[in-house]
Subunit: 466 residues, 2 copies
Amino acid sequence: MEMLSCDLDRESETPLYEQLYTYIKTEIMEARIPYQTKLPSKRKLSEFLNISQNTIETAYEQLVAEGYVEGIPRKGYFVLAYEDLEYVQPTNRTSGQLDQSVQRIRYNFHPSWIDTENFPFATWRKYTKNIIDHENHSLLLMGDRQGEFTLREEIANYLYQARGVHCSPDEVIVGAGIEILLQQLILLLGDNVAYGVEDPGYHVISRILQHYPNEVWPLAVDERGVEVDTLDGAAINVVYVTPSHHFPYGSVLSANRRIKLLNWAAERDDRYIIEDDYDSEFRYSGKSIPSLQSMDQRRKVIYLGTFSKSLIPSIRISYMVLPKRLLEQYKEKLSFFQSTVSRIDQHIVAQFMKEGDFEKHLNRMRKVYRRKMEKTLGLLKLYKEKLEVVSDLSGFHVVLEIKNGMSEGELLDKAQEAQIKIYPLSTYIMEKKYESSPRIVLGFAGIPERELEEAIKLLLQSWEIL
Amino acid sequence: MEMLSCDLDRESETPLYEQLYTYIKTEIMEARIPYQTKLPSKRKLSEFLNISQNTIETAYEQLVAEGYVEGIPRKGYFVLAYEDLEYVQPTNRTSGQLDQSVQRIRYNFHPSWIDTENFPFATWRKYTKNIIDHENHSLLLMGDRQGEFTLREEIANYLYQARGVHCSPDEVIVGAGIEILLQQLILLLGDNVAYGVEDPGYHVISRILQHYPNEVWPLAVDERGVEVDTLDGAAINVVYVTPSHHFPYGSVLSANRRIKLLNWAAERDDRYIIEDDYDSEFRYSGKSIPSLQSMDQRRKVIYLGTFSKSLIPSIRISYMVLPKRLLEQYKEKLSFFQSTVSRIDQHIVAQFMKEGDFEKHLNRMRKVYRRKMEKTLGLLKLYKEKLEVVSDLSGFHVVLEIKNGMSEGELLDKAQEAQIKIYPLSTYIMEKKYESSPRIVLGFAGIPERELEEAIKLLLQSWEIL
């Protein structure tokens, strides 16, 4: 694109960069500037419109931030091929309209995406309306630092019934995401603690830890969960594990290893186990796996849970259960931290749980995800020569080992060409090893049920498997 | 109280501790166990009810957490005199009913409390209803890591108009409270940075910093703000200041000192100023104080703001504006952090701002607080011999120096006897100095307008000033 003829009003209260930004945005939205167009260079546009390059840069950067445009170093600004927008969403989306007009990833197999088709909006609105009321005006002030008691009470009841977790509401701490709670834990446990983390594993944990003085050691994982034996002789005090459903492999920590791990922790006062029970609600075959915390007689397990899977990720509510001894230290050392979750939202979730809607929602979603998993596995198993599927019939994703001769990069590129976003296992690995075939963590939960077959077929076609 | 005759059902699905807890709670609520009663000892009750001491402890601790009972070491558990419940609120409060029945602090002069009588509940409900809709089902998934673009856009516009802050939405990061954003800043700036913080000042800042390896130095404050000269020769790289309205003194950083501070920061690449502009919206006389960020030509100011005062504290939304250089580092080093604020709430606030309701709300509240401040000052000035009032006609509190001969402890005790909660200046001081008369930070904002006169009179009576 050679030039943009934009009428700028220099007398207006609206800054020039904003006028330019709004103009370009509208042009893109209304498809007058097509996808992949290169915008004029800052220098040329600056001469043409007689405004500073800074103003143009600000407008362009805003478009970048909003996800309409991407800046490629030494090449310029291009109207974006929307495949790269993992999370960024366009603005003003309350009508939902914009979504459809600009969404250029057709299918996103992100392992942390959930089903958004079956959320009980009406029920949620009802509770919201009840809570946001002048009668509750004291809810506008700060609440309990650990979280609202009524929510902690519901969480404690739920954890006892669903996961066998022993705790009183006083031991529950509510926070705006696992990352927030983990940072509080790191401060609580102090600088002298060395961490062991699963590798592969939930990569955000090691990324957070690298900003603290603590040592971090990777722990290997196999089909029976984390290899607990590697702890012998290692200078590790605290391990972070996903025993009910390893992320991303899906393996369950064996009974033998569980006991070994609990015994290891019991040996020394400064040892603890962080159990991240992120998606244990969703097991589609056999009995649910008991939590490690429920087997722990010595109060050595710090239990982490979240509403990101069981409700919605964007509400940002997670919780941890601290052993009594750590709880006392928490109250002494960290009690100045305010709660990080809106008090109104906490009461909405508490009511949703108290009235039985949470249980109903879980039962319903378990069926939805089970059908999605069965459909996924059923389709993939037809192509055994070219791919191997690893799944333990639980959770939101399966792991694929692809044996069609393509490299990981090729698999990603081919999928992208088909407007499909996928995530390689290598993202979740700290210590890279040689692997014969590339592996993909395929999250099926976010794809609408009626489109799942189509999505998987398109993916397999892009890989020349189907 | 000698004993509790509680019928426990050992066959019930409800755990014993919960039955006991519910029983005692109900007895307290219905005033069958009066205020200040000592509960039976765990040992005795355990024998009497034939259940374990652990079960009783769990029930008692739950009552403590909920705020019905307090545990005094070596004395036992007592039905609580509610004065101590600064934040803890009783459970199940959606009806608002419980509040009135158990609230035993009559008036709370907490400096961070706001007016809850004038919140636009109906408008808020309207936007909430618009956002929570199946059309917006993509809002259930994770959003932009820095915060929703539409909210950052509104914040950037608002900051430019109200505070002269220069920023694009891309430079704004939304977080669940100043503490969360400050922790991200500490990680971003790294271990080798030494901090200077105002003393007295917002005490939470130094309490957070003490958990990190960084050095922290107190900076003295006088009636022209923080004493900038003390930075000469000090090994400090980053200063935390409240230039528009020092907390808690209320002083405004003088123009001279502002320029000195900005020059100090410009001298070295690793120097930055954190400007906490926590309540600058509320100035009741003269022009609003320009933000330090608006005077900064060298991109040395990190600007912090919050909706805790301008909207409500319990929604937990704050924001920071990073200088470009730090923003790049943030994106590189900390981009794995998910947003810590509910995406739905972000859109509600954004709509509230976009439609002009935020501005309306601010204008309305400025008048309410102005009247509250005038009433407070008018009353207090009648007793000049016994107390001195320091106020710059802005914000949510005044500082009182009390000259009636009572010590700080006596002032607090006397107020407590009158069911009034007050906060001494000493809470906000790092390095204690000798002071001739005790000082109180008196937050008037949370007291309903029609009760303010009564509340202040009761307080002065308790101090034998009136």
